[in-house]
C-alpha cells in the first residue's frame, strides 16, 4: 500500500490521476488499516506537491464517521488539508440547496470531530481548528455559541449575565437562588440539540476531559483570536474561565494566550476581577505569567486600574519574591495607562490637599511599586508632575539612580538634574574611537604601552558609565589588559629560563600565564556579537598565549608538553583555516608562526618551542580591534539570595539543604557550560550543573527600549533553581559563596589537559575543582549565604 507513494512527482497528470483513483478505491476496503493507509497515501502524495483533487472531499467526509479511530484520524487530516488547499470552492450542503465555501464546511466538520469518541481525534481536531484562519467569521463565532436552556426555557449563560450586569450598572447585586432563573419559553421546534456545524465546538473543547484536548483548544482559540479581533473579544471570557482549570499547564497556557491577544482587547472590570483572583496562586509561573499579561493588556476604566494595583500590592505582600516582576509589570501598566493613572495619583501617593503626610519609606517594595507606576505614567502625562510633593521628587532621583531601567527620565521643570545622561551617550562612542586611534598612532612602544594602560583604565570606567558601549568597552579593556600582561611577561626574560622552575618568580610567571589563558577564554566565550575581525584577533592572541605557555613548559619546567604541543598545532590549523575562510590578514606574529610551522618537519615539543622562542621575543602587542558596539558581555545578576540575611540556614551535617537561587543571565550563548559555583569556607569549590528546565528564556518584556535587539531572547535567561549545599559539621555558622560561572573544561579540553595546572576529576555535577582553574570563568560576584551544618542529633 505505501508503495503507492513512490510513483508520484513529475509523472504525467493522467497517470497520477489514475493512481489516485486506484488508491481511492482502497479507501472503501473492509479492513480499517487498509482504509487508513489509503487515506494516508493521499496525504503523503499531497504533501509531496501533487495536489489532491477536490472531488475526494465528499468521500473523505464520509470517512469521518468511520468506526475506527485510525481512519477518522487520517480522514480528519485530509479534510483539513483540503480545506486549506481549496478554501474558495463552493459545495452544496446535503439537505438544503445552500452553497457554502469549502473551508467553512471543512471547519464545520472539524468542529464536529471535537465531539469524537477518541481522545486523539479530539486533540487533533482542536489543533486544526486553530490553523484554519480562512474560515468566515460567521462560522467562527458560532464555535463559542452554546444555547442554554433549563426546563425548556431559555437561559442566559453566566457570561451573558455578567455582561448584562455590567451594562445595566448593577454590579455585585449578590446572587439569589433563582437568579439564573430561565426567562422566556423556548419554542420546542427551534431548538436543535445536535450541533449541526461549528456550534459550540470550543465550548466542548475547553470542557473536555483530557488536558491534551483542552490545551490544544486554548492554543487554537488564541491563534484564531489573533486573526480576528471580534472573535478575540468573544473568546476572552472563555480564556478567563480557563484560569480556573485544575491542571496548571492549562492555566499557564491560558494566561500566555491571553497575553498574546491582550493587545487587541480591552478587559472589563468583571473579567479583570477573575484574572486578578488568580494572582493569589501559589505557583510562581502562574503569577509571573499574569504579571506579563497584565503589563500587556489594556484596561477599560480607572476602577480596573485601581483594582489591579491593589491586587498586585496584595500579591507582593504575600509573595515578596515577586518584587522584580511586579515592578516591571507596574512599569508597563503605567506606560500604557497614563490617563487612567492621573486621577488615582493623589490616592496612591496619599497626598492630602491640606496636610503634609508622613514621608513613606523609600525602601518599601510596595511604595516603590506605586512610584514606578506613577513615574512611568508621568512620562506621558506632564500634568502629573505638578502633583508630586517634594519628597516624591527626592525619591524619584533616588530611584532613577538605582533602577534606571524601571524609572524613565522625567522632564522636571527647573530641576537640577535634567537629561544629562542623554548628552553623554552621544559622546562615548566617539571617545572610544579616538582613544583607540591614539593608541595606534603612538610613536614608540614605550608611549604605546603607557597609552594602553591609560586606555584600559578609561575603558573600564567607560563601561560602567554608558550601557550602550559597555560590552565593547569591556571587551577592549580586557584585550588591552591581556596584551599588557603579555608584554610584561615577555619583557621579563625569566620565562624561558630553566633555572626559574622552583623559585618565587617561577610561580609568579606560572600564575601570570594561567591568568593570561583565562583572559583569552574570557575574550572568546564571555562576549556575544563579536565580529569576524574581533574573533580573529582573539584567536591570534590566544595562539600567542599558547605559544608562550608551550615555550615556558618546554624550557622552564620538567613536565611533559606533548599534549600541549599537539593542542597548539591544532589551534594553529584552526586559526589558519578561520583566517582564510574569513579572508582576513594575519597579524605579524601569527603570520610568522604560520610560516615557521609550515617549514617545521618535526612536530615534537622541543623543536616547536625552539622555533617559537625567537618569534615571541620580537613580537609586539597587537592593537586592539576596532570598537564594535554590538558586542555584549555575558553577565549574571543574582537576585535571590540577597546575601543580607543574618539568620543562618541550619541543616544536619552530611545531608543537603536547598538554597533558592534566582538569577538573571544576559548574553549567555552556551547554557550547557553554565554552572553554579559554590565555594565553602575551606576553599573547597563545587560546580553544579543546573537543570535545563530551571532556565527559562526571558521574554523581551524587560528590554530597555530599543537598545536590546530581538536576538537577545535566546541569550537571555532566568535561572530559578535550588542549589543543594552540603557539608560536614562546623563549629559555628559560616558563609559560603554562591556564584554563577561558565565551565569551559569540556569546550577547551585540550587546553585544560595541557596546562597541567588543573586537577580534573570529572565534569559531572558537584565535583570539586582547584581554585585557579582557568577554564572556570566567573559571571558575577559571589553572594554570601550564611549556613550552619549541625551535628546529627542522636537518641531521639
Amino acid at each position: 500500500m505505501i508503495g503507492g507513494l513512490l510513483p508520484v512527482g513529475g509523472n504525467s497528470e493522467s497517470s497520477a490521476q489514475a493512481m489516485m483513483r486506484h488508491v481511492g478505491d482502497y479507501t472503501r476496503s473492509e479492513e480499517a488499516r487498509v482504509r487508513s493507509a489509503a487515506f494516508r497515501t493521499m496525504l503523503t502524495v499531497h504533501e509531496r506537491g501533487s495536489k489532491l483533487d477536490s472531488s475526494v472531499y465528499s468521500e473523505v467526509c464520509l470517512a469521518l464517521k468511520d468506526d475506527y479511530e485510525v481512519v477518522r484520524e487520517v480522514a480528519l487530516k485530509l479534510v483539513w488539508v483540503l480545506g486549506q488547499t481549496y478554501p474558495e470552492n463552493m459545495i452544496t450542503v446535503a439537505e438544503s440547496e445552500e452553497e457554502i465555501r469549502l473551508v467553512d464546511d471543512a471547519f464545520g466538520k472539524v468542529c464536529l470531530m471535537i465531539n469524537d469518541l477518541s481522545m486523539r481525534v479530539r486533540t487533533l481536531a482542536a489543533q486544526f481548528l486553530g490553523t484554519m484562519s480562512l474560515v468566515s467569521p460567521k462560522f467562527l463565532q458560532q464555535t463559542l455559541d452554546k444555547k442554554l436552556m433549563s426546563n425548556m426555557r431559555k437561559k442566559c449563560s453566566a457570561h451573558e449575565r455578567a455582561w448584562e450586569s455590567v451594562t445595566s450598572g448593577e454590579w455585585a447585586s449578590g446572587k439569589k437562588w433563582a437568579d439564573d432563573a430561565p426567562r422566556e419559553l423556548v419554542d420546542a421546534e427551534s431548538v436543535s440539540l445536535m450541533s449541526s456545524g461549528s456550534c459550540g465546538a470550543f465550548v466542548h473543547g475547553l470542557e473536555d476531559e483530557y488536558q491534551e484536548v483542552r490545551n490544544a483548544s486554548v492554543d487554537s482559540l488564541c491563534s484564531l483570536s489573533l486573526n480576528n479581533l471580534q472573535f478575540a473579544q468573544l473568546s476572552l471570557d472563555f480564556l478567563v474561565d480557563m484560569f480556573n482549570d485544575e491542571i496548571e499547564d492549562v492555566r499557564l497556557k491560558a494566561i500566555d494566550s491571553l497575553t498574546k491577544i491582550s493587545k487587541y482587547t480591552v478587559l472589563r472590570e468583571d473579567q479583570l476581577e477573575t484574572i486578578l483572583g488568580a494572582l493569589k496562586d501559589f505557583s510562581i509561573d502562574v503569577r509571573e505569567g499574569l504579571h506579563k499579561m497584565l503589563s500587556a493588556c489594556r484596561l477599560s476604566s480607572k476602577g480596573c486600574l485601581q483594582m489591579c494595583v491593589e491586587c498586585l500590592l496584595d500579591n507582593l505582600k504575600k509573595y515578596p519574591m515577586d518584587r522584580r516582576s511586579t515592578w516591571r509589570c507596574l512599569q508597563k501598566i503605567g506606560q500604557a495607562h497614563p490617563e487612567l493613572t492621573l486621577p488615582l495619583v493623589p490616592e496612591l501617593l496619599a497626598i492630602h490637599p491640606f496636610f503634609d503626610t508622613p514621608e513613606p519609606d523609600v525602601e518599601d517594595p510596595a511604595y516603590i511599586c506605586i512610584l514606578i507606576l506613577v513615574f512611568n505614567a508621568a512620562q506621558h502625562c506632564p500634568t502629573m508632575l505638578h502633583l508630586f510633593e517634594e519628597h516624591t521628587l527626592k525619591h524619584y532621583s533616588y530611584l532613577r539612580d538605582t533602577m534606571p531601567n524601571l524609572v524613565p527620565a522625567l522632564k522636571l521643570d527647573g530641576s537640577r538634574r535634567s537629561a544629562e545622561l542623554v548628552s553623554v551617550e552621544t559622546g562615548t562612542a566617539q571617545f572610544f574611537d579616538s582613544l583607540l586611534a591614539h593608541i595606534e598612532a603612538a610613536p614608540n612602544p614605550r608611549i604605546q604601552e603607557e597609552l594602553l594602560e591609560a586606555a584600559q583604565r578609561d575603558l573600564t570606567r567607560l563601561a560602567t558609565i554608558d550601557s550602550a558601549v559597555a560590552g565593547a568597552a569591556q571587551f577592549s579593556a580586557l584585550y588591552i589588559g591581556s596584551q599588557l600582561l603579555m608584554v610584561k611577561l615577555l619583557s621579563n626574560r625569566l620565562w624561558a629560563n630553566p633555572s626559574t622552575l622552583a623559585t618565587q618568580q617561577g610561580n609568579i610567571i606560572r600564575n601570570s600565564i594561567t591568568q593570561l589563558l583565562q583572559h583569552c577564554l574570557k575574550l572568546q566565550h564571555l562576549f556575544v556579537g563579536l565580529k569576524e575581525e574581533d574573533l580573529a584577533a582573539v584567536k591570534q592572541f590566544k595562539l600567542k598565549a599558547l605559544a608562550l605557555q608551550l615555550v615556558y613548559i618546554v624550557r622552564a619546567s620538567n613536565s611533559s608538553a606533548l599534549a600541549l604541543c599537539e593542542h597548539f598545532l591544532e589551534q594553529i590549523e584552526d586559526t589558519q583555516r578561520y583566517l582564510i575562510e574569513q579572508g582576513l590578514q594575519p597579524e605579524a606574529f601569527t603570520a610568522s608562526v604560520f610560516k615557521e610551522m609550515g617549514q617545521l618537519e618535526d612536530t615534537k615539543p622541543g623543536p616547536v618551542a625552539r622555533s617559537l622562542l625567537p618569534l615571541l621575543q620580537v613580537s609586539s602587542p597587537a592593537p586592539p580591534p576596532r570598537p564594535n558596539i554590538a558586542v555584549r558581555m555575558s553577565t549574571a545578576v543574582i537576585t535571590e539570595p540577597t546575601g543580607e540575611v543574618d539568620a543562618a540556614l541550619k541543616f544536619t551535617a552530611g545531608l543537603v539543604i536547598g538554597v533558592l537561587l534566582d538569577a538573571e543571565l544576559c548574553n549567555v550563548r552556551n547554557t550547557a557550560t553554565l554552572r553554579v559555583k559554590v565555594k565553602y569556607p575551606d576553599q573547597q569549590t563545587q560546580l553544579i550543573v543546573p537543570k535545563c528546565s530551571d532556565l527559562r528564556p526571558m521574554l523581551l518584556s524587560d528590554s530597555e527600549g530599543n537598545s536590546v535587539t530581538s536576538d537577545t531572547s535566546d541569550t537571555n535567561f532566568r535561572l530559578l533553581t535550588t542549589v543543594l549545599v552540603s557539608h560536614q559539621v562546623w563549629t559555628e555558622a559560616c558563609t559560603i559563596d554562591i556564584s554563577l560561572a561558565l565551565d569551559l573544561t569540556d569546550v577547551e579540553s585540550g587546553l585544560g589537559l595541557g596546562t597541567g595546572l588543573t586537577n580534573r576529576k570529572g565534569t559531572v555535577a558537584g565535583v570539586s575543582k582547584a581554585v585557579g582553574d582557568p577554564c572556570v570563568i566567573d559571571l558575577c560576584k559571589p553572594v554570601k549565604v550564611f549556613v550552619s551544618p549541625k551535628p546529627v542529633k542522636r537518641g531521639i
Binding site: D25, N115, K146, L148, M149, M152, W177, E207, Y210
Partner: protein, 595 residues
C-alpha cells in the same frame, strides 16, 4: 420478528426506584433495583408481584444488574433478594459493591431506628445480599450463561457508575443508568464505543436543559468562599455524604493548595470517612488529573481538610465546614446552621436541590426567621448561596451519547414525562430513530431485525476473500459466495459443495439445462457463431467469453450453433444449474435479438 420487551417497574416517566425488566431472546434481566425516597409505605419498592404473583422469582429472572450505588438504583436490592427471595446472580462494579452496603446500612438505620419501622430488611440481610453480588470491571465481558453477555462502560456520575451493554444472541441493549457527559473535578466523562445496540435505554433527568460551562460555577463557588473566609466569616456547606461531597472537597483542596490558604477546612466525619477510603482505593475510576497526581500522592488524602469535631463550632476565626445532611433537615449541618446563622459574616452554600419543607428549602427561599419544633427561632443573617453541582447528562449530552453508540431504537426513562416528550421528538427528528418512553408497568415492545447466524466453512470464506481482495475494493460489486446450506441438528452452516457432498456421502450430480433455439441466418454455422459471439461479448463485457470448436462458452454456459448452410439453424444453449441466471440471460438475449 424477534422482539425486546421492556417493562419499567419504576423510573418509567418518573425519577426514583429505578427498576426495569428487560426480556429478550428468552432471557429476563432486571436493570437496577432501586427504592423511592419520597414514600414510606410499600410504594417505595418496585412492585415485584408483577413478575410473579407469589413464590420465588429466581426462575423468572436470569440476572440483576445494578448501575451505581445511589439508593434509587440499588435501595430495594436487599428487600428483593432476602425478603422476596431472589437467589440468582447480581452484577455491579467493584466500587458500587464496596459503597452500596454503607449507604444501605445508613438508610436502614434511619428507617428502623429513627422512624421506628418494622418489617424492614436487617443488617444481616444487607450482608447476605452482598454475598450474591458478582463484581465486574470496566470493559470486561461477562458471560452470565451461554447466551447472555454483559459488559460495563464508564458512566461518570458517581464513583463506580457504569453503563451496561447486554447481549442475547444477536440482540443487544445498552442501559445507561445515570451518566454524565462532562467531566468534573474527580470523575471523567461517560464513554461508550460504537456498539450499535438494538435499543438504548437512557436516563433523561435533564431532558430539557442545556447547561453552562462548569468552570463559571466552580469559580463563583470558590470566589464566594474565598471572600467570606478573607473577611473572617465561617462557611457552611451542607452535603450528602457521597458523590458531590467528594467533588467539592477536591475542588476546595486544590484551590487551597493553589492559593496557599491556611484557613482550616473541616469535614464532618462518619459515613464520609469510610466512603473516602473507598474513593482512595478506586483511583482508576477517577479522572485524568487525579490519576496523574496519584503518582505523587492520592488526591483523596486531603492535606487541608481535617475531620470536624463538634467543639470546633464555637471556635473563633474563619473556617469552612462540610456537614451532612445536605438539606439542613437534621443532624450536624442543622446544628451548625443554628449557631452560625445570626452572624452576617458567615455564609451557607447549598450545593444541591432541597425538598420542600426542609430548612434548606426555606432558607433558599429567603426566609429571614426560621422556627423550629421546640418554638425556638433563629434569625438568618448569614448570606445564603445556591450552586447546583449535579452530574447528570443534559440534553446535549444525551444526544451525544446516542451519536456515540448509534442505537437502532432509544428508550427514555428516569425523567419527567413532559420533559421526555420534548427529547423524544428531538431524537425522532434529528436521528430518525424510534423513541419510546413507557410509564411504570407499561410494557413496551421493540421489534428488532431478524438475523440468522450461520457458520461458514473457513475454506469457502478464504477463497472468496482471496478473489475479492485481488481486485480493488468497490462497494458496488456484490460479493457472492457459492455453497450449500447444511442444516444439522439445530445449527446451520454454509459449506463448499464438494465438502458437503463428501460429508453427506452423496455423489455430486450436475443438472444441465439445454434449450434449443431456431434462427434464420444464411451462411455457414461458424459465421453465425461468430456473430453471436460478438453479440454476447458486447453485452457481457466483464465476463470471460471464448470461442472453442464452434461453441461459445461463458463460465459453464455453452452456446452451440448447428446446421449447415441452410437458412435454419439450431442454436443449443445449455447451462449448469448454478449458472442459471447467466444462462437464462443469454437465452433471453438470443431470443430477443431478432427483434
Amino acid at each position: 420478528m424477534p422482539e425486546i420487551k421492556i417493562t419499567p417497574l419504576g423510573a418509567g416517566q418518573d425519577v426514583g426506584r429505578s427498576c426495569i425488566l428487560l426480556s429478550m431472546g428468552g432471557k429476563n434481566i432486571m436493570l437496577d433495583c432501586g427504592m423511592h425516597m419520597g414514600f414510606n409505605d410499600e410504594r417505595r419498592f418496585p412492585d415485584f408481584t408483577y413478575i410473579a404473583p407469589d413464590g420465588p422469582l429466581t426462575s423468572y429472572i436470569d440476572c440483576v444488574i445494578i448501575s451505581h450505588f445511589h439508593l434509587d438504583h440499588c435501595g430495594a436490592l436487599p428487600y428483593f433478594t432476602e425478603m422476596v427471595g431472589y437467589t440468582g446472580p447480581i452484577y455491579m462494579t467493584h466500587p458500587t459493591k464496596a459503597i452500596a452496603p454503607i449507604l444501605l446500612e445508613d438508610m436502614r438505620k434511619v428507617a428502623v431506628e429513627r422512624k421506628g419501622e418494622s418489617n424492614f430488611f436487617t443488617s444481616q440481610n444487607i450482608k447476605d445480599c452482598m454475598k450474591k453480588v458478582v463484581a465486574v470491571t470496566l470493559h470486561q465481558s461477562v458471560m452470565v450463561d451461554g447466551h447472555l453477555e454483559i459488559k460495563a462502560y464508564y458512566a461518570g456520575h458517581v464513583l463506580g457508575a457504569a453503563m451496561f451493554w447486554i447481549r442475547v444472541g444477536s440482540q443487544s441493549v445498552v442501559y445507561t443508568g445515570d451518566y454524565n457527559m462532562t467531566p468534573d473535578r474527580h470523575l471523567g466523562a461517560a464513554w461508550i464505543d460504537k456498539c450499535r445496540p438494538d435499543l438504548l435505554i437512557s436516563e433523561s433527568t435533564y431532558a430539557t436543559t442545556i447547561r453552562d460551562s462548569k468552570r463559571c460555577r466552580e469559580r463563583d463557588f470558590l470566589k464566594k468562599i474565598h471572600e467570606c473566609v478573607d473577611r473572617g466569616g465561617k462557611v457552611l456547606i451542607p452535603v450528602f455524604a457521597l458523590g458531590r461531597a467528594q467533588e467539592l472537597c477536591i475542588l476546595l483542596e486544590t484551590y487551597w493548595e493553589r492559593m496557599n490558604l491556611k484557613v482550616p477546612v473541616y469535614f464532618a466525619v462518619g459515613l464520609t470517612e469510610k466512603a473516602n477510603n473507598y474513593y482512595k482505593m478506586f483511583i482508576t475510576w477517577t479522572n485524568q488529573k487525579i490519576r496523574k497526581t496519584f503518582v505523587q500522592r492520592n488526591m483523596f488524602d486531603f492535606k487541608h481538610i481535617k475531620p470536624f469535631d463538634k467543639a470546633y463550632i464555637d471556635n473563633p476565626g474563619a473556617m469552612v465546614v462540610f456537614a451532612t445532611p445536605g438539606m439542613l433537615h437534621a443532624g450536624l449541618s442543622l446544628q451548625i446552621f443554628k449557631k452560625w446563622a445570626p452572624n452576617e459574616n458567615n455564609m451557607v452554600i447549598m450545593p444541591g436541590f432541597c425538598v420542600v419543607g426542609t430548612v434548606g428549602h426555606k432558607v433558599l427561599n429567603g426566609a429571614k426567621k426560621i422556627e423550629f419544633e421546640n418554638r425556638q427561632t433563629v434569625e438568618v443573617k448569614m448570606s445564603v448561596q445556591y450552586m447546583s453541582f449535579s452530574a447528570h447528562a443534559d440534553a446535549k449530552g444525551i444526544m451525544q451519547l446516542i451519536q456515540y453508540c448509534q442505537p437502532k431504537n432509544v428508550m427514555l426513562v428516569h425523567g419527567e414525562a413532559a420533559k421526555m416528550e420534548f427529547l423524544k421528538e428531538k431524537i425522532k427528528k434529528e436521528f430518525d430513530l424510534e423513541c419510546y418512553m413507557p410509564a411504570n408497568g407499561e410494557t413496551c415492545v421493540v421489534s428488532t431485525s431478524m438475523t440468522i447466524p450461520l457458520d461458514v466453512s473457513l475454506k469457502l470464506l478464504k477463497t472468496e476473500a482471496q478473489k475479492h481482495n485481488s481486485l480493488p475494493p468497490d462497494p458496488k460489486r456484490p460479493r457472492v459466495m457459492h455453497g450449500v446450506l447444511v442444516m444439522k441438528d439445530s445449527s446451520m452452516c454454509l459449506m463448499d459443495v464438494d465438502d458437503a457432498c463428501k460429508e453427506a456421502g452423496i455423489n455430486r450430480h450436475l443438472v444441465r439445462f439445454t434449450s434449443t433455439l431456431r434462427m434464420e441466418d444464411p451462411g455457414p454455422a461458424s459465421k453465425t457463431a461468430e456473430k453471436l459471439l460478438h453479440l454476447i461479448k458486447t453485452r457481457l463485457k466483464d465476463w470471460h467469453v471464448q470461442l472453442t470448436e464452434g461453441s461459445i462458452s461463458v463460465e459453464s454456459v455453452l452456446v452451440k450453433v448447428e446446421g449447415s448452410e441452410e437458412e435454419q439453424k439450431n442454436v443449443y444453449v445449455s447451462w449448469d444449474n448454478q449458472d442459471e441466471e447467466l444462462g437464462s440471460y443469454i437465452l433471453g438475449l438470443l431470443k430477443t435479438m431478432g427483434h
